[in-house]
Symmetry: D2
């Protein structure tokens, strides 16, 4: 049985560094800061047990402590074997009301054991990043479902899995699709994934974006963010897509659009953002230039077919920390970052999403958890969109913190917008 992280690692050595990281994050998370004040006063989560499976680093830790501040008992583990910051996990484990089981570099068995440890707390609410926790409960611990009020899911991929479950009639409690809110998609996916993926790649490879041919697979919100930020660093962006509307959108923003079969021969850097599998596969490796860099910014490590790459490589070595070189029979070397896992989380220098971006996503998570408790009985089992008012509430808190003012709708304007008897 997995023990809390403080019992597994030298907690006294690690805790202060973790707390320092959390303090920095806290300074740049004004939304959670504002909600923490509210929660401390109202104790909306008193008596609840919240199970979390997330990338455990400073920002997530601030969410966990914010929920605990509202009276919840929080148990948390990682949602990716390489993304935990041990120091933060230890610091978080020391917070009143929080138990952390997250540890970096666990193997598959340890990963699921830690998840079981969280489930063992018999959560009444689940907060997920990728859907592993919801899925484990449904598969292995269906008996818990009765007492679960609901949950939230953070990622594109996780929501995708939940919708597939829901379509199969297999999702047995209400889940908020936090990923699908305008707030989340625009800020987390576009700005967060875009900026942090590029910075992780730059700081792992020491290469420049200027003049590079950067192939972005997928032109959803993540792909848009990666494309726009890469172009903003003077890269020449090439987009691959399967949807004709998105392909056309990319084309009309001025990007080159082509199938991966062609793009493979053009790119210097490849970044996958599709959420799907087998985006860069066998025949593409054959077409690539010597020296190319491959990175994945989608949730799972299935976008680049590493198995195929390994099987055709005659040699393989760590070219730089966080980047493996695969040497082909003809001497070409292809470089894969972070073993094809999320590049903005899983290289040695990666820090995950920027703090402020996560403040927005986590702010929505926090108000969704509050909504589950306050109005959970209004939601059937299944995937639910985040109520508009909650999304709006979080945006207002943020604008307020940034000192940004907006206009109000006058009565005449509201009347005008709701009427239809105006002519030319």
């Amino acid at each position: 049985m997995t023990a809390p992280i403080s019992e597994q690692l030298p907690a006294d050595e690690l805790r202060e560094e973790g707390q320092r990281k959390m303090e920095w994050a806290r300074q740049h998370m004004p939304i959670l800061d504002s909600l923490r004040e509210e929660f401390e006063e109202n104790q909306p989560f008193a008596g609840e047990r919240i199970g979390m499976a997330m990338h455990v680093e400073a920002k997530t830790a601030v969410l966990a402590e914010t929920l605990a501040a509202g009276g919840a008992e929080v148990a948390i583990t990682g949602c990716n074997p390489l993304s935990t910051h041990d120091d933060v996990s230890v610091a978080l484990d020391a917070v009143d009301g929080v138990t952390s089981y997250a540890k970096r570099g666990v193997d598959d068995d340890e990963y699921y054991e830690a998840m079981e440890a969280v489930i063992d707390h018999e959560p009444t609410i689940t907060v997920d990043d990728g859907g592993d926790l919801v899925f484990a409960i449904h598969e292995e611990y269906p008996e818990l479902i009765d007492t679960i009020l609901g949950g939230c899911e953070e990622t594109t991929t996780g929501v995708h899995r939940l919708r597939a479950m829901d379509d199969d009639g297999a999702l047995e409690y209400p889940m908020f699709a936090v990923n699908d809110t305008p707030m989340k998609r625009l800020f987390d996916n576009v700005h967060g994934t875009g900026e942090s993926s590029l910075a992780s790649i730059a700081m792992t490879t020491n290469l420049s974006w200027a003049g590079k041919d950067v192939v972005v697979a997928g032109f959803g919100y993540c792909g848009k963010g990666v494309a726009r930020k890469a172009a903003g660093q003077n890269a020449n962006v090439i987009v691959t897509e399967i949807d004709p509307r998105r392909a056309l959108e990319a084309h009309m923003e001025g990007y080159d659009v082509m199938p991966m079969d062609e793009a493979a021969a053009e790119g210097d850097v490849f970044i996958t953002t599709t959420g799907n599998r087998d985006i860069i596969v066998d025949e593409h490796f054959d077409a690539m230039d010597d020296g190319v860099v491959l990175a994945n910014a989608g949730h799972f490590d299935v976008e680049i077919d590493l198995e195929a790459l390994e099987s055709k490589a005659v040699d393989s070595y760590e070219a730089r920390e966080g980047m493996q070189a695969y040497e082909m029979a003809d001497g070409r070397r292809l470089h894969v970052l972070a073993e094809g896992r999320l590049v903005n989380l899983a290289t040695p220098v990666s820090l995950g999403h920027p703090v402020e971006v996560m403040d927005q996503s986590f702010g929505i998570q926090a108000v969704c958890v509050r909504e589950i408790i306050e109005n959970g009985d209004e939601y059937d089992a299944g995937v639910h969109e985040v109520p508009d008012a909650l999304d709006r509430e979080v945006a207002e808190i943020k604008l307020d913190a940034e000192g940004v003012g907006i206009d109000d709708l006058s009565d005449e304007q509201e009347e005008y917008m709701n009427s239809w008897q105006h002519g030319t």
Copy 2:
């Protein structure tokens, strides 16, 4: 009773110029070109009467002739008193199966008489831009509604009016909200409104965007387009909004966001894109600098309170063609383009949306008209979204015409996207 335009104007003098304009448009409208071939062969509209109220210039004319090529009897008039190109109207009137009543510079009475002339054809399908035709039929000719199969509406504002009608239970036949498709919103609103509004302003004022403070009111699709294109010309963009999410989005794209009360004192150029009334009003005029330029890129001329401006001006004169100067008591001069009407249509040099952009919007209109005839009985009275397959069809035609290739989803990928049992 309004006569066809060829009987009102010297048709022989105007026709050739109109045909030349239509020929140029036709060359850059590959989607309508492809659909016209299909329609000519299949005659899907044989026996139908299509009533249209649109900005009658070269591109709209190509849509009208495309519908006529499919066997329809088309009757068309303008949807704005200043946006008709008389030469095109005459040339269109000469097309087999088309009667045009549109004329530039009509007064209110003439405007509605021309609309009545169209209605007099007893249309079975209506194609609208702003909703005036639908509205006139519902208000004045309810007896026609029984034989109307359905219609399409092109604009944000028109869809807005239709939804309001629908909410009141007052919309009595099915209408496709062409404006709301991804294709329309992204291309027409973002690229079309953005580029053509800025070019119209530049070519009316002869001013530069570089270093200008440009206030964009509203950050919907039109506002985003105007903001992005203005920033792309090195303007410093200021955004005003009433929705906190959009305001935050603008803020995180790097724009300044503030209430109009503050922006009024900052801007050199003001562009309204809200679709609402009273965006720039009395107190704002007081705060503005000498020499500012005011333009509207929203559908109706209600966004800038011209009445208030006129009443406080001590003098007023045409500063340049298409731009009126209003002199304040303190000597400041504020300049309004195109009488506050749609700036990309209503100045002397304005050409409306770019040709290719309209090809996309009109391609959707054309397939929606086809859908009404083929499957109209599947749609209840009310506002309907454009079926995804139609939108997708148009995108595919366009990509094909541009020679842009995309990827296909493999069976394994499709299975993966529909499954939920994959873990980390």
Copy 3:
């Protein structure tokens, strides 16, 4: 002998419109406004005769009246047969101290006769745009050179011609290379040529930039401006160059770079900015797609080989005002704007450079004219750079007018910048 324009055209009909255009320009030319005040008070040009050959439209007219306000007798003609605004020419002719001979649409003989009329005033100072006036004086009226104090030249091309003259020892009085100042190059070439060329093309063709392949020939200041502004409208920019450094610069900004032989087959729109001849020639026309648009943003109409195009065309007609279609034997149609002349000046809708941009260029012209009078004897015959202090003076006037503040160098900072004994 050419008469002043007011004697050639119906001056009373045209004057007011010209004055209205000048009034608008004056409002947006704060640098000339500030200098005019100074000149009116100090009368620095009293007794001097200034000969000018420039594009005569509102902005140039404000320069001419500013010089006249300083006491000069000004005689002006056009520097391009298609760029004169007759109404402005008439209005300018009515200004005290100014005689204008500029008329739109003159033939070659008339063009040079008008130039002779200016020369007939026996100018003591020449202000040129393209070098035709300086050249005519050196070739035809060398006897005048003795009394000429000096002159200014505005354009890249003109300065290029003057330097070639100077290298040949053929330039016999001092000329300021206004084109080469930072102020002129960055603002006039980058922002002015960039914005006005694109707006002229958009408003002549009614095409969109979004998703277009735009080939920019030359990556000097003008080419950079065109490329940047086109990319800012979501075009996909392709650059051709002869200089490897500029080519590399374009490549590292993220543009595609290739020889014109390849680019010819890729482009939708071609814009030449090189100042050189034969940029788009015979074999390129063969490679181009049906429907392409060709425009020139360099000074002379030698960049696109129109003769070759005409000789291979089977038909030719005006596709739109300001755009000629050339039909090839295989049915492809190539479209040339403004007969290959400066596209931002010579189409029917063109307005030349934006007002504020010209205010900066003309501000330098004005202080250079003042410098010639105050310190002309310090300059030998030949091309001279604009003294740094003059360029700086104009920048300061402009920042002041815009309300933009900057920092001052402290004594310690100045000492630091001039010392070399600081280490790590």
Copy 4:
């Protein structure tokens, strides 16, 4: 007396990692690769001793080995106490013909002792980054100057110091101002400093650029790069300047421009790029918001007045690795990265300039060293611009490596460009 680095550190442990880093760099430095081949064959440096003081990391190491491959005896040390990578220094020390004395974290005495160790090799050529080596030789070892053929200097700041020496008549051998070439300024300063500074800040702070107010002090090439790349990440950029032309240039690119006194209260992140001292000083700290981040991208640590900051702080602690927090009496916390040293080199995650960018700069260094040997007697003591042909040669090698083609000037075009008798 300082020993080679391999005798100071556990070389066997460090060497392989250093070699791996050099191998990666070598793969992305096609210019040095091409020159190395040439040098190996021709041995241009046989018998010469090259003294280098540079940031010793992988890329510089490839330059050093390239020079050694040409037959030189190379001795190298660091030019900044914090920028050496010890593993690379050890690997470089193992290269035939190279001795490295560079070590990370040396104190002032050790820093100058290592420089003396290099000087002790009695270099015939010096290659500098910041000017410390040239300066030390002139101050302490003037007797060596007689045998020195010449040198190159890489940085803005170093060239600035050399020019000041030259103006004082104190520079006694020829130095190439590598910094001043178009190749160096545009690529190294704009792209290199821009991208690497922002990535270092992002990966040290974990903050987002989107929506941040980023104050860039100085709008030279480095400042332009930082500003453009920050705007490309959706920051709102504010520029401070002392030169009115540069200020106006920034204004017309759409940035806010204001004095630092005002900017201090506006910024979230401050980045100095001026090369001057005292850019952010005492009174600015008072005006800043809680949580601001301060970083320097100029050569020396004199731009932010750390002494003043320390003296007014009531507490100070390491907020994150590479970032020190200073707590003010009123509770505000200001954060300084890398102790105010070059942020793209001196934080724990910093990697210096991107590899390809340095390939260009170092390519020029290499051909300049070759020029000194081949034609050194043609250059007097003093600062020299890099001959145009060398700069061009390097650009051609790079374009060739990138597969980018350009056009050639025809004889007719060359004749046209050199003539002046063409008219309108």
